[in-house]
Amino acid sequence: MTSFIVIEDDKKTQETIKEVLRRVVISKDHNINIKYYTKYSKELREIINDTSHRKVYIMDIELETKTSGIDIAKMIREIDWESEIIFITSHDKMFETVYRSIYEVFDFIEKFYNMEDRLEKDIELIFKKNFDNKMLTVSNRNVDLQIFYRSITYITRDKEERKVIIHTDSNIFKLNMNLSDISQLLDDRFIQSHRSCIVNRQRVHEWNWPKSYFILDTGEKVDYLSKKFKKEVEKVC
């Protein structure tokens, strides 16, 4: 089940959002639950705390109450990184850039400029990518680490340092673990391509078995492809 949570204190805008949802969501999928709020409330807090199903939050940044849309987004992201957030706003560009990055906001839609079309496209995109916001969560005594599966490209094992090295789109993390332990924390998009490598198959652009390497969608060439794992890889790819 997917829930749409609309938080908008302007009745006219709320009506427009209702119309878009009726057109795009309700007509296509019956397993949809939509709730409307005008402000932050105890009931809304309970909905945020319930992470058992996927949600799409559509909310205004500037609510008339003390708690703004940004504050609600902050509360959501404290416990839930799988739900999507869409802001309906007239905020300036600079804040948009910051919050888009920090709170993983799917989109900022301007209230008075083509809002219906943009909202419709966003919802379609969210359904298309199927809420792919699952995360790898690892903790040690120093730090808690959470990374979207989709942003992990591959994971290798460093024999000398005896650590696993998680390669993501922008960073590299070293952890005192072994490959089999970390593979249990991953989903089925990850497959073993080498004795010392697990790769996100959705991120592989080319498998080159004769030369024992694969190329990622980022263009990076990775020399961790072993023929020993060819059958398993070809079975799922």
Binding site: K74, W81, V143, S170, N176
Partner: protein
């Protein structure tokens, strides 16, 4: 055959009394596995066999080694102790043996020995054992020996070892000499002298090597100690300098223009590389002053900064001076790290989110980053992703009682949350 049995009995007796003697003179009071004493049986058998084949010189050497093995095997003490007390025992036994033989030589009993009856040797051994038993029970002797051992133990240089080596070699040499003279091997005597000379030269060479090694290891130890001391001093100075600068920044945030100039001068004294804000007309007060000072240097960059301030009360009034300094220090360190890290990314995004509850203040610093991070080393001493010389900031803050710093990484975001308790009145 009967001689061999007598020799076996004599071997068991002498080993038994020496093992007893070792326990006495070394003041050994621990429990030990008494079954281990049975080791004397195979050794006594070997000695009896050697005696049967008339290999008296081999018999002498073997017996000495067997004694040391007995002590080490039965009492399981450190090798220096075994070596010391073993040698003392051996020398004592040799002395008693010599005195007994001398006493016998001046009496007519020695003539009986010349008949080479083994039973008489057993009787001689028994006599020696009895004398030794009496000697081992002299308390003052044992106490003095343990005092000597304690003094020798304190000598680091292996004089003691060299003394023991020379003592053992000399004793062995004298024993051989006595045996050879007794048996009339006059031709071999010259070869024996050459051998003794060679062994002495070797012992001297070994002693020289031991001495050089000792001097080198002592010098190395001294240098290592000095090095460790200076490293500790440098680290202490770095942490002190680092803390003072951040504490001064905290004071600066609530001080007037004149005080600010004075503080800037002090900061300049401690850190030549800091970019100051003395050109600013007015320094904002409180926490915002520190933030303003830190971000001022990035004014002309593409930094995407957002500050969400939900703190309404006066931070300075609600914290003790120490807590306020600590908060300023933490904020300064984390902002330095965050700004440096986020400027390396394409998004260059930084969010400072300040909140307060009834009891505490919390400041969350969230920044984008693009690094290789060893998560197990993060926050440990000297670990840094920047150039060398960094890495003490976060480390110096972790473990402080009044402040809590929580670090998390969510995708390409680095989150540091500082929580500090308000002063309760």
């Amino acid at each position: 055959m009967l001689d061999t049995i007598y020799c076996f009995i004599a071997g068991c007796m002498i080993q038994g009394i020496l093992i007893y003697g070792y326990r006495k003179i070394s003041n050994f009071q621990n429990t030990y596995n008494k079954k281990r004493i049975l080791i004397i049986i195979p050794f006594a058998l070997i000695m009896a066999v050697l005696n049967y084949y008339n290999l008296s010189s081999v018999h002498t050497i073997c017996s000495i080694f067997f004694y040391y093995i007995d002590y080490a095997f039965i009492y399981r003490q450190n090798k220096n102790k075994v070596l010391f007390y073993g040698t003392v025992l051996w020398l004592m036994t040799a002395l008693v043996d010599m005195i007994t033989m001398f006493t016998l030589s001046i009496t007519s009993i020695i003539e009986l020995f010349s008949s080479n009856l083994m039973i008489l040797r057993v009787v001689d051994t028994m006599a020696i054992c009895l004398i030794m038993y009496a000697i081992y029970n002299i308390k003052s002797l044992n106490q003095n020996l343990s005092k000597v051992y304690d003094k020798i133990k304190k000598i680091k240089f292996p004089y003691f070892k060299i003394f023991l080596i020379i003592a053992v070699i000399t004793s062995l040499g004298l024993t051989f000499f006595a045996i050879m003279q007794q048996k009339g091997f006059s031709d071999i005597k010259n070869i024996f002298y050459v051998l003794v000379a060679c062994v002495s030269i070797l012992a001297y060479s070994y002693a020289t090597i031991l001495y050089r090694n000792y001097v080198l290891s002592e010098t190395k130890e001294y240098l290592i100690k000095n090095n460790e001391f200076y490293i500790k001093m440098i680290n202490d100075y770095r942490v002190l300098k680092h803390n003072i600068i951040h504490q001064l920044n905290g004071i600066k945030s609530v001080s007037n223009k004149k005080a600010t100039n004075l503080i800037n001068d002090l900061i300049e004294h401690y850190n030549e590389n800091t970019i100051h804000t003395q050109y600013l007309k007015n320094m904002p007060t409180g926490i915002s002053g520190i933030i303003y000072e830190k971000i001022y240097n990035y004014n002309q960059t593409e930094l995407q900064l957002s500050i969400d301030n939900h703190i309404e009360s006066s931070v300075f009034d609600n914290l003790t001076p120490r807590s306020y300094n600590l908060l300023c220090e933490a904020l300064g360190v984390l902002l330095d790290n965050s700004l440096e890290a986020c400027m390396k990314t394409t998004k260059k995004t930084l969010l400072i989110d300040m909140n307060e509850t009834e009891n505490s203040y919390s400041i969350k610093i969230i920044n984008t980053f693009n690094e290789t991070l060893d998560l197990d080393k993060l926050g440990t001493a000297k670990y840094t992703t920047h150039k060398s010389g960094h890495g003490i900031g976060l480390f110096s803050l972790i473990g402080r009682k009044k402040i809590k710093i929580k670090t998390s990484i969510i995708n390409d975001l680095f989150l540091n949350e500082i929580t500090i308790l308000k002063t309760t009145n």
